[in-house]
């Protein structure tokens, strides 16, 4: 039992492959999450300020993406983009690059699209929860709107949003596993390849599960620390 385990993990090098997959998973998750979060801020502001047409469009986007399974969004982006990505790449003479980097780029884009929709709701809620009085105080000090937003509103909103961002992150890191379905070489895909070649799916999927579990546990702890740090000086924080 232990000997087969040892030979599979160490001698055949599957342990290293899985760790590399886990690293890719973290990278996709982080990059996708950050892109999604940054893109979510202007959208959330549009909804917060009720900008006429943009606000409704953001609403439709967020309702659709939050209402359909992540897998479907990934299928849409993958199958929907094959054509024009190929065209653009050929036009610019990057055919090989496009073929090798294509799954990663679309994978990250898909993760960003999904996490952005959830982040919009989180950010909008946080922006609405910033006390009106503070904004009025900033206005009465004749702070330009840009300064008032970046110095007063956004930092306060981020503090309020941290809990929600934590939830979105937990979901995003788990959603990265879906990208494996369309052939990206991350943890889940590595586990599937290993399971297929060595014919021991139980072992490899369990290892993948424990790696995912470690990721969520570690990030949960980090978020806990961040929350304590960001809430210092606030009563009850």
């Amino acid at each position: 039992m232990f000997e087969t385990f040892w030979s599979l993990i160490v001698e055949q090098g599957w342990g290293l492959a899985l760790l590399r997959g886990a690293f890719v998973t973290i990278c996709i998750g982080l990059v996708g999450m950050v892109i999604g979060l940054i893109a979510a801020v202007p959208f959330a502001i549009a909804r917060w300020q009720r900008v006429p047409v943009l606000s409704q469009m953001v609403d439709v986007y967020s309702i659709v993406v939050r209402g359909v399974p992540g897998l479907l969004v990934i299928y849409l982006l993958f199958f929907g983009s094959v054509d024009w990505v190929q065209k653009i790449a050929v036009a610019f003479g990057y055919r090989d690059v496009a073929e090798s980097a294509y799954p990663s780029i679309i994978g990250i884009l898909a993760i960003a699209t999904i996490s952005c929709a959830y982040s919009i709701e989180v950010m909008r809620g946080a922006l609405e929860a910033v006390p009106k009085g503070l904004l009025e105080a900033a206005k009465s000090l004749a702070l330009p709107p840009g300064v008032a937003f970046f110095r007063i509103t956004l930092p306060l909103a981020l503090r309020l949003a941290l809990g929600g961002i934590n939830n979105v992150w937990q979901m995003t890191i788990k959603d990265t596993s879906l990208v494996s379905i369309v052939g990206m070489q991350e943890l889940m895909r590595m586990a599937a390849i290993a399971a297929g070649i060595t014919r021991s799916p139980l072992l490899f999927y369990c290892i993948a599960a424990s790696l995912f579990f470690a990721m969520t546990a570690v990030s949960q702890t980090l978020f806990g620390l961040a929350e304590r740090h960001i809430n210092r000086g606030f009563s009850g924080g």
Binding site: G70, Y75, F79
Partner: protein, 239 residues
């Protein structure tokens, strides 16, 4: 939008919707009682039961659903004595059964978390009052704890129902053709990616809206009951 494609796709997606609905109904119908049981185990005084339920929740909430479904469908089939057991083999040998089992176990962990916080938020005094009346633990659970916790948990549980509908899409990864599975097949068949996506989204949004509206109505029913009792309590005694 091309209407011949719409007309072509809808019958397939409807067959898929049946499977999605089947998985979701099992997920809600069995997942809710199961989740409540786990929540009770997590709040129980028996340390072993409590720890085991905690561990179950942590594992199923900390790993992606895709891993869970693969472990159940591909992984467990590898173990000899599980394959020899007819009941377990019936559960994990078939794609649809495995998908239902995975959804059930996954939603159980999340539901347990929702109900655990609901149970913890119950006012201590009410339960002490019930104990003082000499109610047995089972009656306290049935008459005091559960109705109050349900009211507390319903808003969060309705978003869990929407998640169940979405998670059921992962059944398509183990070759169970539900809505997403059919959508993928139709996408690669017709190349009308956007059209198929829009129709499929309409299916999912309809399912979610119907489910959420039903739960909203139930929630209003429960609140209504509370309003009535409050009115009765504040109205002057007839005698």
């Amino acid at each position: 939008m091309d209407f011949t494609i719409v007309a072509y796709a809808i019958p397939f997606l409807l067959t898929g919707a049946k499977t999605t609905l089947l998985i979701s109904i099992f997920g809600v119908g069995l997942g809710l009682p199961f989740g409540i049981l786990v929540a009770l185990a997590r709040t129980s005084r028996n340390r072993l039961v409590c720890k085991a339920a905690d561990a179950y929740c942590a594992v199923f909430r900390g790993t992606p659903m895709l891993v869970q479904i693969f472990v159940i469908y591909y992984g467990l089939g590898q173990v000899g004595f599980l394959r020899a057991n007819p009941v377990i083999w019936w559960l994990i040998g078939d794609g649809l059964h495995a998908a239902i089992l995975a959804v059930l176990l996954n939603t159980g962990a999340y539901t347990a978390e929702i109900f655990r916080t609901a149970f913890l938020s119950l006012p201590r005094g009410l339960i002490e009052a019930a104990e003082a009346c000499g109610m047995s633990p089972w009656i306290i659970l049935r008459r005091i704890k559960f109705p109050l916790a349900l009211r507390q948990a319903l808003p969060s549980y309705s978003s869990e129902v929407a998640i169940i509908v979405k998670e059921s899409s992962l059944a398509s990864t183990i070759a169970v053709l539900e809505i997403t599975g059919w959508a993928k097949r139709l996408m690669s068949e017709t190349f009308a990616i956007m059209d198929i996506f829009i129709i499929t989204s309409v299916f999912y949004l309809t399912l979610n809206v119907v489910g959420l509206t039903a739960l909203k109505l139930l929630e209003r029913q429960l609140w209504c009951e509370r309003r009535l009792t409050r009115r009765k309590a504040t109205s002057p005694c007839p005698s």
